[in-house]
């Protein structure tokens, strides 16, 4: 019952939209595809849905060729980032649409639509047109329609991206169980948000420039990002990556000693590495490394401070709202036990969760 993609490639006007994408999507599991905008996530979903052809590669479902199956026979439901509904139909009819096409009996349709609307909390709006609803409500209609028919493949293309932050979190919470409760369905959910990917996904696929660069359970991807690129993509704010040297038990950036070598990196030979450190793992301190504030973002309960340390940029996440002015010089302190080490090509060498002497494998 799997959906298997092998070496899917698509190039348009010289740009790789998909490049040798190989992945196996399992029934009953929720796959989150995380990647930046234009990483190829939507293209991948459109190929899976049959809305987009590929240049090469294969796609099989239950072991049979799926590429030649037309869209309308793929048993696939999709929710778009834009709130796409049928403008001419009422909420009820919108949700009933796929059931009618599938030839479901009338009573059955009514029952399932009502149940579905109840689940998304739109029962009282069933007679309205989509244009008379708020953005969040419109997207609930789209979700209800996607869920109502129990499709074998459920594709969700950044469904909450166009909603405001609060609503996004709320819906994400609400639907977490819904998405993972799709029985034998293959559920694929794309997002640009690390938290969303980690929180929802049974399996996380990281996409970058048309390739899948890492696949694994959320915890594993989070703890052991295969490359610096993955490390950046799956963290928000992106993981701070800086080049430094290990020498004499100390880590130095240029000529500046930044910290001692922590235990999990102790057995690494001296040399140049790329180090990764998440934003919360840097603290502002009364004493420490002197850096200059280049930018300050305040987001609700947190403050993100962008710092420049001898030409390398860092983002620091601190709790609470702080009044920090641009150009201030502040002291910062790294938490060495949270350091990731990558080699010069960007591949992971050590992560905080791996003990000394256990090299990272892929």
């Amino acid at each position: 019952m799997t959906l298997d993609a092998t070496d899917l490639s698509l190039t348009v006007d010289g740009v790789d939209h998909l490049k040798d994408v190989t992945a196996s999507f399992q029934p009953g599991r929720l796959h989150t595809v995380i990647g930046r905008t234009l990483a190829g996530k939507s293209t991948l979903l459109r190929v899976l849905a049959g809305l987009q052809r590929v240049d090469s590669g294969s796609l099989t479902r239950h072991g049979a060729d799926f590429l030649t199956t037309p869209v309308w026979r793929r048993d696939t439901a999709m929710v778009y980032q834009q709130f796409i509904n049928y403008p001419h139909l009422t909420v009820f009819d919108n949700v009933a649409f796929p059931l009618k096409r599938a030839g479901v009996a009338r009573d059955e349709i009514r029952r399932r639509v009502q149940e579905s609307l109840a689940r998304v909390g739109l029962t009282e709006f069933r007679r309205r047109r989509p244009s008379q609803l708020s953005g969040g409500q419109q997207q609930r209609v789209a979700l209800a329609r996607a869920l109502v028919r129990g499709a074998g493949i459920l594709l969700l293309d950044e469904p909450f991206a166009n909603l405001d932050y609060k609503l996004r979190e709320q819906l994400r919470e609400e639907f977490k169980t819904l998405f993972s409760d799709q029985g034998d369905a293959v559920v694929i959910y794309t997002t640009t948000e690390p938290a969303e990917a980690m929180m929802l996904g049974d399996v996380v696929l990281v996409m970058h420039e048309g390739r899948i660069i890492q696949t694994g359970p959320p915890g594993e991807v989070y703890d052991r990002p295969a490359t610096t690129t993955v490390a950046r993509i799956i963290n928000d704010p992106p993981m701070n990556i800086f080049t430094g040297r290990i020498a004499g038990g100390r880590i130095a950036v240029d000529d500046l000693q930044v910290t001692r070598v922590p235990a999990h990196l102790a057995d690494l030979p001296d040399g140049t590495y790329q180090f990764g450190l998440r934003a919360p793992d840097i603290a502002l301190a009364s004493a420490g490394l002197q850096a200059e504030v280049t930018f300050v973002e305040i987001s609700g309960s947190e403050t993100f401070v962008h710092l420049a340390l001898s030409g390398t940029g860092f983002v620091v996440q601190i709790d609470g709202v702080h009044d920090i002015a641009l150009g201030d010089r502040v002291s910062m302190r790294l938490r060495p036990e949270r350091l990731f080490a990558f080699d010069h090509s960007g591949a992971l060498v050590r992560s905080p969760s791996s003990g000394p002497g256990s090299p990272e494998g892929r």
Binding site: A49, L51, V71, Y86, P87
Partner: protein
Amino acid sequence: MSRLYATFKYTLISVWAGFVVGPFMWAVLTSFKDANGVQGGATYLPWVQYEPTLTGWQNIFGGAGGVDVVRPFLNSAVITLVASIISLALGALAAYGLSRYRFKIGFIANSDIIFFFVSQRIMPPVVLVVPFFFLLQWANLLDTIPGLVIVTVALLLPIAVWVMVDFFNGIPRQIDEMAMLDGCGPFGAFVRAILPNSVPGLTVAAMFCAVFGWNDFFFAFRLTFTEIQTLPQAVVALNSSIPPWWTLSAAALFGMSPLILLAVWVERYLSKGSLPGVIR
């Protein structure tokens, strides 16, 4: 809004309204005159300057001195309606295809095909009329309604395509995709998901079709003999060396009445706000 500006604005509007209404008013006045009312020079006030008569109006409804307009009216209506429906159907289909799919036949791409459609409007009717005559003669369709419908479709189809391509481009393609994901074939997606949302576009296209179909004189005139007469022909039949201006005016007013209703209808759509997105 300052008072000065308001005065200025309403003055402009009134001046143009007067210019628009003038010819109609003159036609109305003239339609109630007779030879004596016309000959002496321009007269404006009925009963005062001339004695109003109903001759003009009687002449177009079966009076012996005129040309009957009722049958031509029906002919025009049937031809316009049928040709518009065919053009809208074919035009909407083609426009949808051109809006949603990429065509490539040699060096010919979508924009070239659209240009081909629209370019039919550049063709002066004179170019087409002689060959159309032989074409319809070959098909034995001269002087028949089907013959005129075919020719009128050639005139209207480009308009329908032009309006509808733009309109469909404005409908998110995700809607058709979703319909297909929901189990519709491509044609089903078009019929069930796109067409019901295209009423404003179809309205505009239908309006243009109606205007150009109803007002065609050239082709109807040359491809018919005696059986089928359209309304413009009936009016032009009064354009003799001694034009009976009163009858001509009455026929002209009668002939344009249905399309004036069309103007009211189009304005309603404009005001409801359903059209604006269509014509861009």
